[in-house]
Amino acid sequence: MTSLQEAFTKARIQWDKLQDSKVPIFFVGAATCGRAAGASEMLERLRGYIKAKSVDALVIEVGCLGLCYLEPLVIVHKPGAPRVCYGNVGPDEIIAILENHVLGNDPCAQWALGKVTAGELEGIGDFNEHPMLRRQVRRILRNCGLIDPENSYHYLARDGYRGFLKALEIGPGKTLEEVKASGLRGRGGAGFPTWRKWQFCRNAPGETKYLICNADEGDPGAFMNRSLIEGDPHAVLEGVLIAGFTLGASQGYIYCRAEYPLAIHRLELAIGQMRELGLLGENIQASGFSFDLTIKKGAGAFVCGEETALIASIEGGRGMPRPRPPFPAESGLWGKPTVIQNVESLGNLPLILNNGAKWYAQYGSESSKGTKTFALAGKVERTGLVEVPLGITLKDVIYDIGGGIPSDKVLKAVQTGGPSGGCIPAEKMDLTVDYESLTEAGSIMGSGGMIVLDEDNCMVDIAKYFLSFTQEESCGKCPPCRVGTRAMLSILERISAGEGEMADLDKLETIAQTVKDGSLCGLGQTAPNPVLTTLRYFRKEYEDHIEKCRCPAFVCSQMISYHIDRDRCTGCGACARICPVKAISGEAKKPHVIDQHVCIHCGACLSTCPDVYAAVYRRSGELTRYEARREKRDKTN
């Protein structure tokens, strides 16, 4: 075991050497998303080239920089030049960068996103001035993409574990005060003040206490926690130590989804490194504080993100929630006081301790302090992982950071908070992102999923989508959730199949309210949110579906019919060949016809019809005047 002080010194030296490295270094973003975008092939090619030509260069795999839409990303260090970040780097580009920039004199400005370090390089601006980064405040993600997540020295050199040492120095009482002063609220979604939860647990009688890190990021459309763990696992683990120390816990658990193999691997590595450094085990750093950590792999159940269900799952049973109170802070894992904290909440703790509560609270609104990470996805130009100060408006996130909606489409709504959240309509984009205002709008902050929807998204379909998710994931323990989600889903299915009635809307609202009020746990209590918000803001769209059998976004397939324009069709037969049910007939080189009774509304003909002819068209609900005229003419022909 190396002493921590010794490790700090070594880490400093190693880090400084890396900064002024005399050999070129490639920092390749190889988190799950980077790999999905092709980083693995690129790495293979790069390593092969370096080996074959015996180039003196280092390759380091780092986490996610957050500009996921430009993956794979690489930061290149060339001795004597500023470091440059490149985007969309495939196997060919990386070799070109190596040959032209690193070994030659052309900095490959065409792929460059910006300079990461100071210095001049022709044609390349500052990376921090990149439109996606300019408005961001990267604190929790400060190390993601810049350090080697598998090398604890990198974390140590970037003020790692200083926050924990500070906590040891000032003691648990003052640590709690500091966290209270920072105004940190739980980042899992509900926004419960962290210090208050801790206070409950500290005051609860009993010697044995537990801390659980909730890394069961189950919300579809959210990947903040995965990125943080993959890119900077020690930041989360330091937070675990700080929380464990403040609570007087002796054992911690990390409950991580099994769907995140890389995150689990990096956590395992990092925990091993902590043991090496004397940061886990008996009497840590001679402070008298003993603490150990175990990773528990989830087995695929969304409801296990709920505190009491998560506890039941760790105890080895079916992951079903139980009524609260007693709250886990009083009686949790094996009946002992337990605090469950989200990954990001924990990731904030080292920052608060190291820089002080005042520094932390610089950003944020009155009631929501600090920064928050969001997984920006859906119909937005620049998708990725962003970190913004709380209190920023939705408009700023979507347009300034996200770059607006692609292909000149119109923004329709933003979905926050996953299945527990709701859809905020385009006219409310001036809303500030904080716990209160999002709740007021009928949604929730949630853990940080932010999905942008455009005119091509049907709101009935979105509500149906979330309901089918919660209905499937409902554990079935309490009837309001078990029966209510199913009842709501069947109404939504009816509406989207064109068989709805106007009375269904009131029925939906009544059931939604009952499920909200009567469910046992957070899953059921929030499950109606997608329905309630879409009904509140997009009632017209529901009415269109019911009264006119019309889906304005052309999503609900039962309401769309496909037709062939006789004047444009040349009879090439492409549509007839692709049609899976052989609904299209016609002689060669003569206009074809779709048999509406056979058609399954899959839309294959529409996407296959060559652009030059564009003979296949679709419609939903009432006919336009033009279509009505054509229909009439078709009949007389």
């Binding site: 790999r35 975008a37 996921c68 579809p220 459309g221 995965r226 159940a301 969304f302 992951g319 859906g378």
Partner: protein, 152 residues
């Protein structure tokens, strides 16, 4: 099996890790494995099934050679992930949750794989295929269909 059983003996809380290890080793939870587990842990087979069926990770029939998982997360859904699933279902001639007759492919739908920025995604075994389209999917699948691979 013995090796797995010796690893986390005793604690009730080890039940899920047990099941995970068994599935990792054998690919699924066979009746025999559960019986054996029940005998050596003193947890009734009923109770083990109760826990195992609660979680989507566990399967009770042998898996196919390749597992195709089509993401149906929100980001994938709004980028027409459903169409991708339909297309895969058509091509493999099975529904989600089933295995092809030749035991070559398993098809699963998953809630979210956390690659939302690259939506829609399809994962075959451990390889993530990003920005999928109905057209791209057949070339992805054919990579895994034995014959075509050998030809290349």
């Amino acid at each position: 099996m013995k090796h797995i059983l010796s690893q986390h003996l005793g604690k009730r809380s080890s039940l899920i890790p047990f099941l995970q290890d068994i599935q990792k080793e054998f690919g699924y939870l066979s009746t025999k494995a559960i019986d054996e587990l029940s005998r050596s842990t003193d947890i009734s087979a009923n109770e083990i099934y109760g826990v195992a069926t609660f979680y989507t990770q566990f399967r009770f029939s042998p898996p196919g050679e390749h597992t195709v998982r089509v993401c149906q997360g929100t980001a994938c859904h709004v980028r027409r992930g459903r169409q991708i699933l339909n297309e895969v279902e058509q091509q493999l001639k099975i529904k989600a949750g089933q295995t092809t007759e030749d035991r070559k492919f398993d098809l699963e739908r998953v809630a979210c794989l956390g690659c939302c920025a690259l939506a829609p995604v399809v994962v075959v075994d451990d390889k993530v295929h990003a920005r999928m389209t109905a057209k791209k999917i057949s070339s992805v699948l054919s990579q895994y269909k034995g014959r075509q691979t050998r030809k290349k």
